[in-house]
């Protein structure tokens, strides 16, 4: 038995989350718009950009200040600690007040989105009397919740306002797809999904994907910024942290997500044995889970291989992300698989 009223409240919370997230996205967009260099200052900024690139090459800018990236000199010790980034905030006067306000509102709204998504998931779980991770709609909402919360929590440690648009935007798109295309009525599960391994395996998988998502956004921004800097064109990316520290940030995220994905594979294998009698069947979903794991392992390798550029490694990371997208869309919907749980 499912409780229709609770399911409706769950959807209400989801719609609210999407509304709030739209505000957050607009806030981050305004923030970036306000950072776009004014025409008369472009030249000065370009000069700054080259300077910061030189610092990078010297390698002196170990964790140079985040928000006003190019402004913080090599002397600023470490922006990793909250105190340091707070100090850096002070010197980032050239971030217009309007932009800072917009980003502040966006940050709050992102938190609120996270809480609303938690509420939506809890209500959905209550309405179906089970862990609400049984079909594509529910994966998408859960994953969005993890992405939004991971981003918000991490934002308390570092200034990530520059990344906000590329987190809130994709999450909003995902939620939009979830509620329109992938929506599935609240219902019980197929017998093969009734297992505590569902809770363990799928939750960790979704958490891992949520973190890979932010990692992919950071990798993308790194590659964009890097190519803009090479071409010498001025852009809003000049106001982002130095390419090197964005890249390191992206690596940090992948390093968290990869062991989680490894665990996902192991837990999935244990569950597969219980449900289907054999821990590995090369079912399409398993194939892609394995492919994703191998591609991200290649990313970590590439990053550690001397003679491979950081750019190359980050392209591999984006390839890994593409595989995740394929796994959650094409494989779920089109491939003949034992994992036919999309609910579509």
């Amino acid at each position: 038995m499912t409780n229709e009223t609770l399911a409706q409240y769950a959807n209400l919370a989801l719609y609210s989350a999407m509304a709030v997230l739209t505000v957050a996205m607009l806030g981050y967009a305004l923030y970036l718009a306000a950072l776009v260099p004014h025409r008369d200052r472009k030249a000065a900024l370009a000069a700054e950009a080259t300077r910061s690139r030189d610092e990078e090459l010297v390698g002196a800018g170990t964790g140079a200040g985040m928000p006003g990236g190019p402004v913080a000199g090599p002397g600023s010790p470490s922006a990793a600690s909250p105190a340091a980034s707070a100090a850096a905030d002070g010197e980032a006067d050239d971030v217009p007040l309007r932009a800072r306000k917009a980003a502040g509102i966006a940050g709050t709204m992102t938190w609120l989105t996270g809480f609303l998504l938690v509420a939506s998931i809890a209500l959905r779980g209550a309405s179906v009397h089970r862990w609400p991770l049984g079909n594509m709609f529910e994966f998408a909402v859960f994953g969005s919740m993890f992405t939004v919360l991971a981003f918000s929590i991490w934002s308390t440690k570092r200034d990530l306002r520059w990344l906000g648009l590329l987190v809130t935007g994709p999450v909003l798109l995902t939620l939009g797809l979830a509620i329109t295309v992938w929506y599935t009525e609240a219902a019980e599960l197929l017998p093969s999904l009734k297992s505590y391994w569902l809770v363990i395996h799928v939750t960790v998988a979704t958490l891992s994907v949520g973190i890979f998502a932010i990692g992919a956004s950071a990798a993308l921004i790194y590659l964009l910024k890097d190519s803009f800097e090479r071409s010498g064109r001025a852009s809003v990316l000049d106001r982002f942290p130095p390419a090197r520290s964005i890249e390191r940030l992206s690596y940090g995220l992948h390093v968290v997500a990869f062991p989680l994905w490894t665990f996902t594979v192991i837990a999935g294998a244990i569950w597969a044995r219980q449900a289907w009698g054999s821990y590995w069947n090369w079912d399409p979903k398993e194939v892609w889970t394995f492919v994703i794991w191998v591609v991200y392992a290649a990313y970590l390798h590439a990053r550690a291989t001397s003679g491979w550029s950081r750019q190359g490694a980050n392209y591999i990371a984006l390839a890994g992300w593409a595989c995740i997208i394929i796994n959650y869309t094409v494989v779920n919907v089109f491939f003949v698989s034992q994992h036919s749980y999309s609910g579509l």
Binding site: T62, K194, I266, W271, R273, Q274, G277, W282, A302, S306
Partner: protein, 533 residues
């Protein structure tokens, strides 16, 4: 090259010009080995492995679904056989896929073993000498403390020891330290454990087996080769040594969604439970167990999984005198989610000719205009049998055949009384149908369910699991632990009784908290020597 190589291992004649370096066989081997075990090759092979795995998700795989594979090949007359030749329907058993992962693992061994030796040595050696100029290191901090140089150095040692650095004093005015050996240990454990995973998988392939059997309610099953419908042993399995348990299916509960009518939900399966009595060996007292999806029954030497279920209508066939020539719960195989099932009743004892019934079992039967007889719900709400009849020789050439179909090569179909159309038999439970031409009658007595059991043994799975968890642990420690060297040098300050403490740190790869760590160490030394910052 190959023709020359045997010669080139011999010492070169002295009068030959020596300025052309010759790669002998050994040289070539060494070159190839170095290439194979380089990180670049490993990276390339990893990417290749990812790409190579993909076709198996696109094309049907024979080991998973041989019927679908055969269908595909039949439908793609030109492409099918080519893909088949290339192994695209058995990707994970194909030589090229094996080549990729075997090369990868050879590369891995060649890479990891030397590294293990180096690491073993590094772990027992002392940290290196303090560099002359600490301010050149990537992180550096200096301060004065109120202590003698010797006291300051002792304080620094205490601080470092507390942070689990390994220490060594190469000279009187400085201490060298290093920590984070666990990073490399974790990395090595991770890679070596991957090899163990493969070993576990290989053991499962060689010594494991699986068999499938269909057991209607009320019937039993003994774990011997002859009882299996299909049995696939690994190459090293001795089928006569199967553990001698037996079981009887007492009841099978099936529940389907009846309340929710949303898209794709109505009629979805909700629960299957098989209640069985199990005897560990012949003559032992049976005990009751349940097998469910997600809850296999673990027996000694094998596990029993409930992987399928369906209906076995109980059918009785009598001859014209009324003698029973056939009575059995006959499994019909489900074709769709509503358990529209196909099956056959083979009455070998019928006279004068053998009889073969063939057709559908429908748990909730309706007759629709466009589909004819079909089922609209998976539970047995309104069961019916829709059968046709053949007579003749059921087993031409005595070849083995599927129990769900008739081989009609030497059979002729029976027509209805008027002789215009094939005979159609429609039966609901309790009903009997008189066959034309004095062939007797058929009765549909009732419906039982059957359980599709899969019984499997994989002696390698424990090793695989342990190795996988070991790999995970190694991975985490290799990614989390930071390997650092920290050097502390003391020198007397201008003011008597005070000392300049200089701390420098270096990391193996980029390490964004190194500066923080160095400053933290300096602050701790100041605190210990009673110097306020």
């Amino acid at each position: 090259m190959a023709t020359q190589t045997p010669l080139s291992t011999q010492p070169a004649p002295p009068d030959e010009p020596v300025n052309q370096p010759q790669l002998g066989l050994v040289g070539w081997l060494r070159f190839a080995w170095r290439q194979l075990t380089s990180m670049r090759t490993a990276l390339f092979l990893l990417l290749l492995l990812a790409v190579g795995a993909v076709p198996g998700s696109i094309w049907p795989q024979r080991s998973i679904d041989s019927a679908r594979t055969a269908d595909y090949i039949a439908q793609h007359q030109t492409l099918g056989p080519v893909l088949d030749r290339l192994g695209f329907f058995e990707v994970y058993a194909s030589p090229w896929f094996a080549a990729i992962y075997l090369l990868l693992f050879i590369s891995l061994v060649g890479c990891v073993l030397p590294r293990t030796r180096l690491h073993w040595r590094a772990m027992r050696s002392t940290p290196p000498r303090t560099p002359a100029r600490l301010e050149r290191l990537s992180a550096h901090a200096t301060a004065e403390v109120e202590a003698t140089p010797e006291e300051a150095l002792a304080a620094a040692e205490a601080v470092l020891r507390k942070r689990r650095f390994r220490l060594h004093r190469h000279d009187q005015t400085s201490v060298s330290s290093e920590r984070g050996y666990l990073k490399e240990t974790g990395n090595l454990v991770f890679h070596l454990a991957l090899i163990l995973v493969i070993v576990g998988v290989a053991i499962g392939h060689l010594l494991g087996w699986k068999g499938d059997v269909i057991v209607p309610v009320g019937q039993g099953f003994a774990n011997t080769l002859s009882r299996y419908d299909t049995f696939s042993p690994g190459p090293w399995v001795k089928p006569e040594n199967l553990s001698p348990f037996s079981l009887k299916l007492d009841r099978l509960d099936a529940k389907f969604e009846e309340n929710v009518t949303g898209r794709g939900q109505f009629g979805q399966p909700r629960d299957f439970t098989a209640h069985v009595s199990v005897a560990d060996q012949p003559g032992a007292k049976p005990h009751e167990e349940t097998v469910k999806v997600n809850h296999p029954l673990e027996m000694k030497g094998a596990s029993v999984f409930l992987l399928g279920n369906g209906y076995a209508p109980v059918i009785t066939v009598r001859d014209k005198e009324g003698n029973v020539v056939y009575r059995d719960a006959t499994p019909f195989l489900a074709q769709d989610n509503n358990y529209k099932s196909v099956g056959a009743v083979k009455v070998t004892g019928a006279t004068p000719k053998q009889l073969g019934f063939f057709g559908l079992f429908l748990p909730t039967a309706v007759i629709t205009k466009d589909q004819g007889p079909t089922s609209i719900f998976p539970d047995a709400k309104k069961p019916a049998l829709a059968l046709g009849l053949y007579e003749g020789n059921l087993f031409p050439d005595g070849r083995p055949q599927s129990v769900y179909t008739l081989d009609t090569k030497e059979l002729t179909q029976i027509k209805n009384a008027k002789g215009t159309e094939p005979l159609r038999i429609w039966l609901e439970p309790g009903q009997t149908f008189e066959l034309p031409g004095g062939r007797g009658s058929i009765t549909f007595d009732g419906v039982e369910r059957f359980a599709g059991l899969s019984i499997r043994s994989d002696p390698g799975k424990g090793l695989t699991l342990v190795a996988a968890l070991l790999a995970l642990a190694g991975l985490i420690s290799s990614l989390v632990v930071r390997r650092r060297r920290v050097f502390v040098r003391v020198s007397p300050a201008a003011e008597a009784g005070r000392t300049v403490v200089s701390v420098g740190g270096m990391a193996k790869d980029d390490d964004d908290t190194l500066t923080e760590a160095v400053e933290d160490i300096l602050a701790a030394v100041q605190r210990r020597t009673g110097t306020s910052r």
